[in-house]
């Protein structure tokens, strides 16, 4: 079976202007959303308590809220969790007069009084203190930034030996720009889909950074090879040839990863779903950014390359 015919020649770099404009617009929108609306922070980062409840019989959100009213938690966010009809709910408490460590106990009593003590189950409690939340937010942000920069440095060093430090740096910068794009697109998608930002999302972003750079590495590797083989072509043509030659690999690899992610997304349960969602978006974006962003960025330095 062949997905991409051999000898396919799509002039990808021709679309670079459209791609750059499109991506810039998308990224600016995401950045604007980030700064003006802010991401929907989960308890990991915002601090607070979440309690996951499972009821045996059909229960509605107003019912739960009413029961929580008796311990002054009527204002908590209550939402469906997991599959429909499973009667699982997530209660999120921001601040309360009750001592946080005793919160789940209080909630157990209040819900027990309304629904019966054996008619429901507290399946999960997560409490994160405000200081820890701030600390995690800080460390999460930095780890994503650090790994992105690290990928750039790796590629720089990796290709410096073949092309000289200057051109290696161009590859590195190209990769970093592509990665920033992927992270921003994923963040934007998470915000649109109303997922909360928590530790698993950071894990997903770091994985995207590590995985998405693979395509860039493979294409750059091919560019390096073709530069040696094909002497008379322009850099643009060599980049296009390289992208085309590796295209089926790029699509296949991401394709198999997307297959397992789809399985995780659909079957892995509600806890893992945001993680799988982020990876689905990020990996897909990774293919696009490698082809349309990373390579054209290298082209930007075409001049300096020729002078070499």
């Amino acid at each position: 079976m062949e997905l991409i015919r051999s000898g396919t020649k799509i002039p990808f770099t021709h679309y670079r202007k459209i791609a750059v404009i499109l991506s810039t617009v998308v990224n600016v929108i995401v950045l604007a959303l980030l700064f003006f609306r802010g991401p929907n922070m989960g308890v990991d980062f915002a601090g607070g308590t979440i309690v996951q409840l499972k009821f045996q019989q059909k229960t509605t959100i107003p019912d739960i809220r009413q029961a929580l009213e008796s311990i002054q938690l009527g204002g908590s966010t209550v939402q469906d969790f997991g599959q429909e009809g499973f009667n699982e709910f997530l209660v999120r408490v921001e601040k309360t007069g009750i001592q946080v460590t005793a919160l789940s106990d209080q909630m157990k009593k209040a819900l027990g009084a309304k629904f019966g003590a054996d008619k429901f189950e507290i399946r999960r409690v997560e409490y994160v203190g405000p200081k820890i939340g701030e600390d995690l937010r800080w460390r999460g942000t930095w780890s994503v930034i650090a790994s992105t920069v690290m990928m750039g440095v790796y590629i720089w060093i990796r290709f410096a030996s073949a092309f000289g430090a200057k051109f290696g740096l161009h590859f590195g910068i190209g990769a970093v720009i592509a990665l920033i794009h992927d992270v921003l697109v994923t963040v934007g998608a998470l915000m649109l889909a109303n997922y909360e930002f928590d530790l698993t999302v950071v894990a997903a972003l770091l994985t995207i950074v590590g995985f998405s750079v693979n395509d860039t590495v493979v294409i750059c590797d091919r560019i390096r090879e073709n530069l040696r083989k094909i002497r008379r072509e322009s850099l643009e043509n060599i980049i296009n040839t390289s992208i085309n030659e590796t295209l089926s690999r790029t699509i296949l690899t991401t394709g198999t990863a997307l297959l397992v992610l789809l399985a995780l997304y659909l079957l892995g349960g509600a806890v893992i779903r945001p993680f799988a969602f982020a990876l689905l978006v990020g990996f897909t974006s990774g293919v696009y950014s490698t082809i349309f962003i990373a390579s054209p960025v290298i082209l930007l330095w075409d001049k300096s390359f020729k002078q070499r």
Binding site: E121, R124, T207, S248, T253, L258, L259, V260, A263, L264
Partner: protein, 542 residues
């Protein structure tokens, strides 16, 4: 060539066998109630006998991060130093000197002009652990010294307090009875506690978090408690509350104020043992304290000196009882009565036996997962593993036929090795960890895709099958290594950053990369080398 193939077949077979040995306890062993794995009798004892450890999110349990309130402990320490200084000056007969605590870390020593030199020499000789905050302020009346603990001393004190807290918490958890708890110091002032499979997290939290500072203080019956509450207690006195009755469900129990002398006569540090005793008639159970020799002597002195007065037994600033001392009490036994049930009495005896925390602790992070959610997560994780794996396997066969099958066999070995490494190094498997394994399956075939695409290219370029395979592996290798190194790097960063479950993901991701390179590149190569060596290879299914 053939010999090379044979030795590699032997190496990979041995690795596979070793992996199966490491995984055997997961299938053969039986888990007993405490979570340890019991292997059947015929299993030799030198072979691995430990099953893969499940994270708290899969087996249920509590993950707690406690912050030790060091500032409070340092403040207490300064208060003690203040008393020491005062006593020291008094013993040496120096008059006209007073010691005050200015803030949490600073003492102010006011010395009259006549005694300045002696105060200075005592500070220098006996209190070398104190250093000056600023130069002494001299006026006509005398000199004011501003002292604080010096840096090394503060650091040592903080270290001591956190270590001591950790020990105390460990003692309490041991007595509470949790199998395989993890209690670790984390950073400067936090302690990580993991309690797998715990049934009643609230009770565990109560036991761990209680400061359990037991104090004996005298009641001042000359002051009306109600007035002291209203107008504030007179100097040297304090108002603490005791509870009467549990109160009806929902209603908060009545609080009774006591006026106490602020001075603590004795603390719980002399407790040797604490036992729950059944109460008589209508009374609930009580906790009997057995003091050590030193404590017994002290207790005897105190009771002898205060016959007919009331002595309050105060735990964490709550008055439990305030009985009248009828006579001098020898033998070192005291009891704490109060209206508690047998469970509360048992918990109280645990914290008293284990000793007080040197500083208050606060739970700053809690993640508790019930056992049923853990079971669901395992099922969901395994389902997505099976479905995702099957999809990839089928896809590879559909796309690459024979070569796809080879890649699939490598994938099976990959998962086997990965699981064995996780078991062998006793890594903890979490839900994100399972996701990491699933993801590895999806990403592992990347190496085979790179190789196979390359082989196809080389064949199209007119090479013989044999040299195409040769060139395919050779040319694909740099890209494979590069792409795995980058993913590995972000896995390492993730491990540094993450907590608990996330760390589990980072571990499986990194382990998966290692096994992927070994299986997808080197294991598949064995097959092709065998084919090449066996007969002239003219066609290849790819």
């Amino acid at each position: 060539m053939r010999r090379g193939v044979l030795s590699r077949v032997i190496i990979f077979s041995a690795l596979a066998l070793l992996s199966l040995l490491f995984l055997a306890p997961n299938f053969l062993g039986k888990k007993d109630s405490s979570g340890t794995v019991e292997m059947p009798g015929w299993w030799p004892s030198f072979l691995p006998s430990d099953a893969i450890h499940l994270g708290l999110d899969l087996q249920g349990g509590s993950h707690l991060v406690l912050e030790v309130k060091l500032d409070k402990a340092v403040e207490n320490h300064m208060e003690r130093l203040k008393n020491e200084l005062t006593n020291s000056f008094r013993e040496k007969g120096i008059s006209g000197v007073s010691v005050e605590r200015v803030d949490a870390t600073q003492l102010q020593i006011k010395a009259a002009a006549a005694s300045v030199e002696r105060v200075r020499s005592i500070l220098k000789a006996d209190f070398a652990n104190l250093s000056e905050v600023k130069t002494p302020q001299t006026s006509a009346a005398g000199t004011d010294f501003y002292m604080t603990l010096n840096r090394e001393e503060t650091r040592a004190l903080r270290d001591y307090i956190v270590d001591q807290s950790l020990e105390t918490i460990r003692n309490r958890i041991d007595q509470f009875g949790v199998s395989e708890p993890i209690i670790q110091r984390q950073g400067i002032n936090t302690i990580l506690v993991q309690l797998p499979g715990i049934q009643d997290p609230q009770r565990a939290k109560d036991i761990i978090g209680k400061t359990a500072l037991l104090e004996f203080k005298l009641v001042d019956d000359n002051v009306n408690p109600e007035e002291a509450v209203k107008n504030g207690p007179p100097p040297g006195r304090q108002v603490l509350f005791g509870q009467v009755g549990k109160g009806a469900a929902g209603a908060s129990p009545a609080k009774v104020p006591y006026v106490l002398e602020a001075r603590t006569l004795m603390t719980g540090e002399y407790i040797q043992d604490a036992k729950v005793r059944p109460g008589q008639q209508l009374q609930g159970p009580y906790v009997e304290l057995i003091l050590n020799d030193q404590g017994a002597r002290l207790f005897e002195q105190i009771t002898a000196a205060n016959v007919k007065r009331r002595m309050a037994i105060v735990l964490d600033n709550n008055v439990y009882s305030a009985p009248v001392i009828q006579e001098r009490i020898g033998g070192g036994r005291a009891s704490i009565t109060g209206s508690f049930d047998i469970k509360e009495a048992r918990d109280l005896s645990i914290v008293l036996r284990a000793g007080a925390l040197p500083a208050p602790v606060e739970i700053v992070e809690e993640r508790t997962v019930g056992p049923s959610l853990g079971r669901d997560s395992i099922t969901q994780g395994l389902t997505s593993f099976a479905v995702g794996g099957a999809l990839v396997v089928l896809f590879m066969i559909a796309y690459y036929k024979g070569a796809g099958l080879v890649a699939d066999v490598a994938l099976v070995f990959n998962v086997l090795f990965m699981a064995a490494i996780l078991a062998g190094f006793q890594a903890v498997l979490t839900l994100p960890g399972i996701a990491g394994i699933v993801l590895t399956i999806g990403m592992a075939v990347d190496a085979n895709v790179l190789i196979n695409e390359r082989i196809r290219e080389e064949i199209r370029a007119g090479r013989s099958v044999r040299s195409a395979i040769e060139a395919g592996y050779q040319n694909a290798l740099p890209a494979i290594l590069d792409s795995n190194v980058t993913t590995f790097l972000s896995g390492v960063i993730l491990f540094q950053f993450g907590t608990g479950p996330i760390k589990g993901f980072a571990v499986t991701l990194c382990v998966g990369i290692l096994t992927t390179v070994v299986t997808a590149v080197y294991l598949t190569r064995v097959y092709y080398d065998y084919r090449i060596g066996a007969r002239r290879l003219e066609r290849i299914s790819i």
